[in-house]
């Protein structure tokens, strides 16, 4: 390829209507509560592993709905269950994470 001295950057825009949300839909079948997250961030704030690994269940759920591969985030979870205690919507977050891991397996 001839080097013209510039390159084209790929758009980072998410095409919301074209995102493959199959994984999220499968997760909702196993854990219907995945739909009721209101992105408050309590889970990420309380996460023991979060400050070191970037884990935040909020980011996982939103990432799934935006077609991201959330496995790198998930791998930081130690399944301590603190997020379950703080979720104001009462989502069984620990169980939800386990269900998601099963879907990825």
């Amino acid at each position: 390829m001839t080097d013209f001295g510039f390159k084209l950057s790929k758009s980072s825009a998410v095409e919301l209507d074209k995102v493959d949300t199959t994984l999220f839909e499968r997760l909702c079948e196993a854990s219907p509560d995945a739909r009721i997250c209101m992105n408050c961030g309590s889970c990420g704030a309380t996460c023991t592993a979060g400050p070191y690994s970037g884990m935040s269940l909020r980011k996982v759920l939103l990432g799934l709905q935006r077609g991201q591969d959330v496995r790198p985030l998930l791998s930081g979870c130690m399944l301590c269950g603190k997020c379950t205690m703080v979720c104001p919507r009462g989502i069984n977050t620990r169980n939800l994470i386990l269900n998601l891991c099963r879907i990825y397996d």
């Binding site: 758009s11 998410v14 095409e15 919301l16 209507d17 739909r35 992105n39 935006r66 919507r89």
Partner: protein
Amino acid sequence: MKENVVIIGGGIAGMEAARQLLLLGYHPIVVEQKDRLGGHVGQWHRLFPDMASAQDLIRGLGEEISDANIFLETKVNSINRLRDGYQVMLSNGVNVACRSLLVASGFQLFDAARKEEYGYGVYDHVITNSDLEAWFNGKPDVRIPEVPENVGFVHCVGSRDLKAGNLECSKVCCMTAVKQAIEIKEKFPSARVWCFYMDLRLFGKKYEDFYLGAQQEYGIQFVRGRVSEVGETADGRLQVKAEDTLTGKPLRVRLDLLVLMAGMACNPEMTRLARMARLDIDSDGFLKSLDNIRSINASNRPGIFFAGACTGPKTVPETLAEARAAALDIHRYLQKGL
């Protein structure tokens, strides 16, 4: 002979106040510009949080104020101070002397076309919250596809918008968007629905229940980010851009229908009345209450009272409660004067 009280505006505030004043033994004279009573609510379909029929509310109020004097298609031409009251001249030639007046002139729906980037009146499938209610009420609308696949709702159209000169939150649109999104899902179960918001302001009784239900039962998706622009694709669909501020990524979505949640703006008629009766205007352009905690119903002029959205955006129950409070204020004012 029963004492006259002039009520300017025949929306829910004016109607409820007239009902209360009749019960208190007065003779309310309702002056309405349009050819029907009921105002904005009269054109609505269902009201949150109980999904009650707006038409039933207006019909019920209308029946209860049949003893009031109602002038339709009538404007106030002038308001002049008398020694102990006001002389109100109406456009139909009627002249009323009264000691007390109620301003219930309401709001004006923000003209969504002013937010040009949303393409209302330009693109084929952009409508407002008000248009959607009219369609729910059976009015045909060619802009609404037979079976829309993707539907978007834009919160805060002309509300919380300093540039548009309307800094106030219109209070009801977040909840209306959630309600209408659910109604769209009920009509078109296969549709995917996205609500684009800056904050969800769901402050009222049962509003959060609606939000939870919208997520849980209807799978409606809430995207935090203001729609920046709307365009049209070659095949006539809408392309909407927003930033997903929770992931920090730009979003694009193709839609078959976009509903703009137009907010509540000052009613020019209210500004005209204020000039006529020398009423103070607040910094937001709405009428200025004597104070915003204890005397929301009172004006800077003796005997002139306010009810409803003429002093700022209000919900239906808030407006009705204010109308009842204003009727009582008027009653006390007139009693004291006797």
